[in-house]
């Protein structure tokens, strides 16, 4: 990348002219709220008001088996959904990049459009399909396949995984497609001419070269999956309850801001660690890819 001026005061001062407003807004309205979150998580709360610092809020979370169970379930739901999306997106990215010809742009647009539609409407459409009185159940009942509605379809962690996967899959498929698109098709053809089967091509060429896209999708998708709460609230029931629901309940319903903000901060910490790991991996995988 080229820059207009060498590093130095002049460039900094001119850059400040552009950056003062955006950085100011973020410092106040992004860093501010995160800092308050951190502060509140260490404050002692009592009926008499708040006073003094404490680690009680974190202790309350880490000692409570219920919270730990919900935390584990959140991780499981996020991980299964992420793996499902990767399993769908790797072949999808390949097919879009090399195998659809003129349909490439329309199909890509279909992916982008699905993300632009309202997420709450999407959640509702799945609930309508899978719910106790949903269409799948009523169709099966009408056909006489079952005699009582299957509750497990909805209000379960399975429903949460399905809806989350469909909601986020564009953000996994598009980066993977983009990094596959950068692969020279001649390389694939040469490999095939030299007798490599599809398995070999996938393992030796496609996956290593698509790795940066895969790690980007981890940052964009895996992290927010841990903080979902609209989807589990509407299709999860009690068995699909996630950590985001606990935070919402503690903050808005119970009014226990100490525990709520401690939980939020733990989630933020987890996000930071995941982001750092994925970022490292994406850098490493790029270097590996360049080295060949």
């Amino acid at each position: 990348m080229r820059a207009r001026a060498a590093p130095g005061r002049g460039a900094g001062a001119r850059a400040a002219g552009f950056l003062a407003a955006p950085v100011g807004v973020l410092a106040l309205l992004f860093v501010g709220p995160i800092a308050i979150l951190l502060l509140m998580s260490f404050l002692r709360m009592s009926i008499a008001g708040s006073g003094g610092f404490t680690l009680d809020n974190y202790g309350a979370i880490l000692r409570d088996p219920l919270y730990l169970r919900i935390l584990a379930r959140t991780g499981a739901i996020a991980t299964v959904a992420m793996l499902a999306m990767l399993a769908l997106s790797i072949p999808l990215g390949y097919v879009l990049a090399f195998r659809v010809g003129r349909l490439e742009l329309p199909l890509l647009l279909a992916l982008v459009l699905s993300d632009e539609l309202n997420p709450l409407i999407r959640i509702y459409s799945w609930r309508m399909l899978l719910g106790r009185n949903g269409l799948v159940n009523s169709a099966l009942l009408a056909l006489g396949v079952i005699h009582r509605p299957i509750d497990a379809l909805l209000f379960s962690s399975v429903a949460v995984v399905i809806v989350l996967s469909v909601s986020w899959v564009p953000y996994v498929a598009i980066p993977i497609y983009a990094s596959m698109k950068a692969i020279d098709p001649n390389v694939l053809e040469a490999a095939r001419d030299l007798g490599a089967g599809f398995g070999t091509v996938l393992r030796r060429i496609l996956l290593p070269l698509a790795a940066p896209g895969i790690f980007v999708s981890l940052i964009l998708v895996y992290i927010p999956l841990f903080a979902e709460f609209a989807t589990p609230a509407l299709v999860g029931g009690t068995s699909g309850y996630m950590i985001g629901n606990v935070i919402q309940e503690q903050i808005l319903e119970v009014g226990n801001w100490g525990v709520g903000s401690a939980m939020s901060f733990l989630l933020l910490l987890l996000s930071g660690v995941l982001a750092a790991v994925s970022y490292r991996l994406s850098r490493l995988s790029r270097i590996e890819a360049v080295r060949g």
Binding site: A11, A15, L105, E116, R122, G134, G213
Partner: protein
Amino acid sequence: MARSVADVQGGLSSRLAARAQAAAADARLRDALAALLRGAFLAAVLLLLYGPLAILVVFAFNDSIIIALPFRGFTLRWFGEALGNPLVRESLRNSLGVAAAITPVSLVLGTLAAFGVTRFRFRARGAVAGLVAAPLVVPWLLIGVGALLFFNRLHVPLSLRTVGAMHVVSTFPLVAAIVSARLVRFDPALEEAGLDLGASPWEVLRLVVFPQLAPALAAAAIFAFSWSFNNFEISFFTAGFELTFPIWVFSTLRHAQNLPVVNAISTLVSAVQVLAVYAAWRIVRGRPGARRAAQVPEAIPELIQR
């Protein structure tokens, strides 16, 4: 000699030809099968993405309060009821108003940030780029909860203004990502040449920079608007007693059965969104560099990777 050399050769080559033919037929069969599999796979993906929405639309026209088969007959009354519902109208008005207000603000802030980060080299550049990208990585739930506690501490009453402020924070980094993905692709030498040839900075901006950025800005505007309109998590925590469209859908469904009125209004909103994205695509496609602008979510990884 019973068989001449020519006979042997002839027999061999005809056998080879037969084998080659069989192999070609095999390959054709394999290709046809592969094409069939690809078609089935793509159809399945599209069905997952759009199937439930299609069913939602069908049941918006069903003449029954219960959403179940069989289909009871065609009606438009749910659309009338939805559009007559004062809460629906209020929530749509609020969501459209907030999105319309924050889009220009996000465009300005995002373009400024993109310029500052891509066009200058200075010591804190990495840190600033990281800060600008951070709201794209931190989950919206956490931004929303943090904002709620923040506004409470500062005794700022929650309203559509606080919703709008937080939408700006979550949206302008997206604009910055899209615009800087475009900026790194064109040559700052053009801007310098303009200045050297005696153009004023304003003229350089208007005549050199803006025409190159226009497709990216158009795409960014559409994405900013729809991110704000669709946002649920941040709005939910910062709206206080105000209603936005996603909040209305959430609270209606939280405590109720599935309702045909929700189908009707969802159908209308989705139809408008489809038309808007399609129109945007058509507008952007007509210009050079349009292919990139049509693939905007790509810009997000681009910013993070840099």
